[in-house]
């Protein structure tokens, strides 16, 4: 049975599955210079972190590809002509190569740890900065760009696709349609605003139902503080939707004094040691969440605590 089928069966049986924790913030915390997602300068650190999450017991590990797309480079130039004129020579092709490399590192980690049943989720973030729904491109543009990313990840050998931190319904729908063309299962996860709905302000319940109708294999919420995530799990559970999932961030987003699409630095994470995070996750599980892991700020210790502390079966 393939990892995706194993995962699917477990979720259908009502079991819960463990996602991994943060990649970006943990790499930065470990001193990796955040450029090219650490993939060029520190591939060993990326693979080692995957391995730690596997050893911590994750059933699903995510590729280090959040917001890794052509815009990451193109956006800091006037346009393509300007990028060619003053940019490093390989910037046009680099995003695609990095996507492939990121998948290869996750696969290498899985092989090295010897857990072939673990599913690798190819992560796709919003095309523009995840916290700026106002910048989301039009749906037709988004669909084409997400299609390239989804096909690249699928071609490199992921087991499912995870649309993460989706901040508008329109982009989630465009990405979902593009991702489903790969034939892989697609999970959709929304980033929440302070009001508890999508960051765009669109109602969470309706967005969840829309993506579910369009074929999302699971609906999740992520990248908001644990309390907000808990309330959102309640909203999803009240819809009677299954499976649903949750992964909160901990600490506070501490961006640099510089323009970046997303610079994964969270500080103050010590306020959420693994035991405290586990207590929050227990409540999500009790409310019906079957897919549970950690977003920005979480570490292998948090995932280990979830593995040890969450109920084995509902």
């Amino acid at each position: 049975m393939s990892p995706a089928e194993t995962l699917q069966r477990r979720l259908e049986r009502g079991e819960w599955v463990l996602l991994d924790g943060a990649l970006g913030t943990e790499l930065v915390r470990r001193g990796v210079r955040w450029r090219d997602h650490g993939l060029r300068l520190a591939p060993g650190a990326v693979q080692a972190l995957h391995e730690e999450y596997l050893l911590a017991g994750a059933d699903v590990i995510r590729t280090n590809t959040f917001q890794l797309n052509r815009r990451l480079y193109l956006n800091v130039f006037r346009d393509r002509a300007h990028m060619r004129r003053i940019g490093a020579p390989d910037l046009e092709e680099r995003p695609v190569r990095l996507l492939e490399q990121a998948v290869a590192l996750a696969r290498a980690a899985r092989a090295r740890v010897g857990r072939p049943e673990v599913a690798i989720a190819g992560v796709i973030g919003p095309l523009e900065h995840c916290f700026r729904p106002d910048l989301a491109p039009p749906a037709t543009v988004a669909r084409a760009e997400h299609a390239e990313i989804a096909q690249t990840l699928a071609g490199a050998g992921v087991d499912l696709l995870l649309l993460e931190s989706m901040n508008t319904l329109a982009e989630a729908m465009a990405a979902l349609a593009a991702a489903r063309e790969t034939g892989l299962p697609v999970w959709v996860s929304f980033v929440l605003g302070p009001e508890g709905d999508l960051l765009s302000g669109e109602p969470l319940a309706q967005a969840a139902q829309r993506v579910r109708r369009e074929g999302a294999a699971a609906v999740l919420v992520n990248c908001a503080p644990p309390a907000d995530i808990g309330r959102a799990v309640g909203v999803l559970a009240a819809l009677g939707m299954r499976p649903i999932g949750a992964f909160a961030h901990i600490g506070r987003f501490d961006p640099p004094s510089w323009k970046f699409e997303f610079y994964p630095q969270f500080t103050g994470t010590e306020e959420w040691p693994p035991e405290r995070y586990l207590a929050a996750a227990r409540a999500w599980q009790a409310a019906g969440a079957q897919i549970i892991g950690g977003c920005c700020g979480t570490t292998p210790d948090h995932i280990r605590a979830l593995r040890a502390g969450l109920e084995a079966a509902p």
Binding site: R33, W34, R35, L72, Y73, N75, V76, F77, R78, H82, R85, I86, G87, A88, P89, L91, H129, F131, R132, P133, D134, N167, G193, P194, L199, A224, P225, H249, R252, F253, D254, P255, P256, S257, W258, K259, F260, Y263, Q265, T267, G268
Partner: protein, 306 residues
């Protein structure tokens, strides 16, 4: 120190040396960038200022490029979101960092200038990304934001403002109006495209016309490859009503860092500096990719008796 010594030198037609890159120089010294390193590695920033002073710079720029309230807010949906999930000091960090940046330049000058007049230019750029004129805020909003930012520089005690890598006339005008309202001497430096125009397609001649009534102390060109700077200078020098200057970048932008190349070693760069001086440039320095060695080479060629 005030701007007076620099103004007099320029009035006499003499060359004024600007420093070279700070951000890329931090990277070249194997320190990561991301947050200007003003608080975590202040000694590295101060050492770079010192090295530029020792190389012969008459004007050093603060390590404050793009430090504004907006820079931090842009990472979030809005202020409510920033307050909800952001680190506690993000609404005021820009101000603390500007103050720290000016202090480090002042400390370097006190330690290294040895009585030579060295001016400190507060570095600012466009409110949105310097290569993306399409993102610029409205002129009214821009002027108010510039005034807020520049007031911090004024209070911290810079000698002039260097409004650099400007991509549009309207943003240059907004910044110039703000600087004038605070009574600070200021230079405006445009980033030219490969045809010697602004990134908006506006011409440098149009930019000169728009800024002339606001009496900038100098107009410059920066952050483009040397050949583009040369092309722009040929347009700018004949029409400018004030001293002009140039400080190109060398190497390639490799976001978010820099790709250093050996295409323009210091002596070759300084030879170009001589050419720019002959074309009318009186302020010469370096942008991304340049080093204290480049400024020292300019100094040997252009200020041999100084």
């Amino acid at each position: 120190m005030s701007y007076e010594a620099i103004r007099e030198r320029l009035a006499r037609g003499e060359t004024v040396l600007l420093d070279g890159a700070i951000g890329t120089e931090i990277l070249r010294r194997q320190v990561s960038w991301a947050d200007h390193q003003l608080q975590r590695r202040p000694e590295v920033v101060q050492a770079i200022h010192r090295d530029y002073i020792l190389a012969g710079a008459d004007v050093i720029t603060t390590n404050t490029f793009q430090l504004t309230r907006r820079s931090f807010l842009n990472h979030f949906r809005d202020l409510a979101h920033l307050r909800h999930i952001g680190a506690p000091d993000l609404e005021t960090r820009w101000r603390d960092l500007i103050r720290a940046g000016v202090r480090l330049a002042q400390a370097a000058r006190a330690a290294a200038a040895g009585g030579r007049p060295v001016a400190i230019a507060g570095s600012l750029t466009t409110l949105e990304w310097c290569f993306r004129p399409d993102l610029a805020p409205s002129p009214a909003a821009a002027e108010a934001e510039y005034r807020e930012t520049m007031a911090v520089f004024a209070e911290a005690g810079v000698d002039l403002l260097l409004i650099e890598t400007v991509n549009a006339i309207r943003e240059a005008v907004a910044a110039a109006r703000a600087a004038r309202s605070l009574g600070l001497p200021y230079w405006v430096s445009f980033v030219p495209d490969e045809e010697g125009r602004l990134f908006t397609g506006e011409t440098l001649a149009e930019a000169v016309q728009a800024l002339a009534p606001l009496a900038p102390e100098a107009l410059l060109l920066n952050c483009a490859p040397p050949e583009d700077i040369t092309r722009g200078l040929a347009v700018l020098a004949p029409v400018a009503p004030c001293p002009v200057g140039v400080y190109p970048h060398i190497g390639r932008f490799d976001p978010p860092e820099w790709l250093f190349t050996d295409e323009y070693p210091p002596e070759r760069y300084a030879a170009l500096g001589q050419q720019w001086r002959a074309m009318g440039a009186r302020i010469l320095g370096g942008c991304c990719g340049t080093t204290p060695d480049h400024i020292a080479a300019l100094h040997r060629r252009l200020r041999p008796t100084a």
